[in-house]
Symmetry: C2
Subunit: 247 residues, 2 copies
DNA sequence: AGGGTACTTTGACCGAAATCAAATGGAAAC
DNA sequence: GTTTCCATTTGATTTCGGTCAAAGTACCCT
């Protein structure tokens, strides 16, 4: 996941690269240059943006909506390996071929740069590489945190971990602290949750029902979730209650 | 894992950062500067180099031996989240606290830089950041590949995947192609393999016995492995035979 | 050589999650 | 309004890997 790589977009537009270029160290020309080569693309829910093995000729970041990175085995088993939220970066400079599918989980808008000029920019503008390094290190931490979830947690803990990540992301946007109940809409189907957690969709459904029965969460409809006690949820996830979990 | 981030060390010493600084783009002063602040540390097998939560005041790379990155839950469940081989980088600029344990799996020598001067170098020497970005992106790919292993593969496939990674690393060092049998010593105990694969050590042992019985591998002693047919092993791992697997 | 220790193998049994199957619910389409 | 389609829930059964327990093996150390 990439959730730590988030920015305040309120005053600098929607692109994390540009944001940092404006606000931190860079001169105006660099901004202009990036401005000149950026463009927007929209995708519908379910649409595959990039197929594994295809050439990748752009990089970019999510403006709105959710995308997922997915790996698929020949026999159809699939594992989601990343969840891309607004401001998260997609693509990698110096790599021609996409190593996994990128799929729009919801309707999606991306801000893109053609790869070639972006790579040239990276050489001439050190801060872009440094910024990208920070973001990539955050993603690496998140991926490793998720390896613990996949490798060692029970189905119930996995569900609680996922809910806690989504809740936290929402909490950081909507509320200041994490006291009081947290309310959000699940942006994923049961199947997508299963693909993320390395479970079947039936197990996901059963564990959500169990958490509901045990009053760890409340559901209105299938997607609208209330977390009355975030600390309780994190206990269920097997995490330290004190916020050690990297989102 | 970090196996893709490997270098040819034959003519430039043992440190990947320095290697690139010398051979690719940089001036002599930069090399001198890095030379001046580097130092070596040795560790015995089993020794914990860095504890999760501790302050990290250095970065470095593995010179010889194997280290592992490990996460542990309060109840003792542990998951290895990375395997560090010679030339792999440890630590992250811009991060004070270690997010996981770093443990010497075998006797180990590391080449270290104090973090502060290294970070200063990163600002003044763009190529270091760019090099580090490439390495980190490779590690991220490897971590995501491993998420598929942890989330969706069977115990047998997991073992085959691990053997195939180790075999391939060794093959790349000892032989040019991957035709003919591959021979190597397992650098991990059954328990360490289990921690890497999200299994118990008993299951690891049983699956190794099964692969032996089915003649996918041959064992002499507990650790010395022969792979008569690498393609067969990769089929068992559930990977494309054509080398799609990121090491 | 003997004895200790740590690593590994093997067996018996159990349980959590997968699989197979059917029912329910909810929203869009007719 | 009701039909259709999908997402979801729930149930019955199976299976893979975990757990508990007991040997077996190799290496080290006097």
């Amino acid at each position: 996941m990439t959730l730590k790589a988030q920015f305040d977009h309120t005053n600098c537009g929607e692109c994390p690269i540009r944001h940092r270029a404006v606000c931190a160290h860079c001169e105006r020309d660099e901004l202009e240059e990036l401005e000149g080569i950026k463009y927007y693309r929209s995708f519908e829910a379910g649409q595959t943006i990039i197929w594994s093995g295809d050439p990748m000729n752009f990089v970019g970041s999510v403006v709105s909506g959710i995308a997922s990175l997915t790996q698929t085995m020949e026999d159809g088993r699939t594992q989601m390996v990343g969840l891309l939220l607004p401001s998260d970066f997609v693509g990698r400079p110096g790599r021609e071929i996409a190593p996994y599918d990128v799929v729009a989980t919801t309707d999606l808008v991306m801000c893109c740069f053609r790869k070639k000029p972006f790579e040239e920019m990276m050489v001439t503008t050190p801060h872009i590489a440094q910024r990208l390094l920070q973001m990539t290190l955050d993603e690496l931490d998140a991926a490793r945190e998720w390896m613990l979830v996949l490798g060692r947690k029970t189905a119930r803990e996995k569900i609680a971990s996922l809910l806690s990540i989504i809740a936290r992301r929402d909490a950081s946007i909507h509320q200041s602290g994490m006291a009081g109940p947290i309310v959000f809409d699940l942006p994923l189907t049961r199947e997508a949750m299963a693909d993320y957690l390395g479970l079947t969709l039936e197990t996901v459904s059963r564990q959500i029902s169990a958490l509901k029965k045990d009053q760890v969460i409340t559901l209105e409809g299938k997607r609208h979730v209330t977390i009355p006690d975030m600390g309780r949820l994190m206990e269920e996830a097997g995490d330290d209650t004190d916020g050690g979990f990297l989102v």
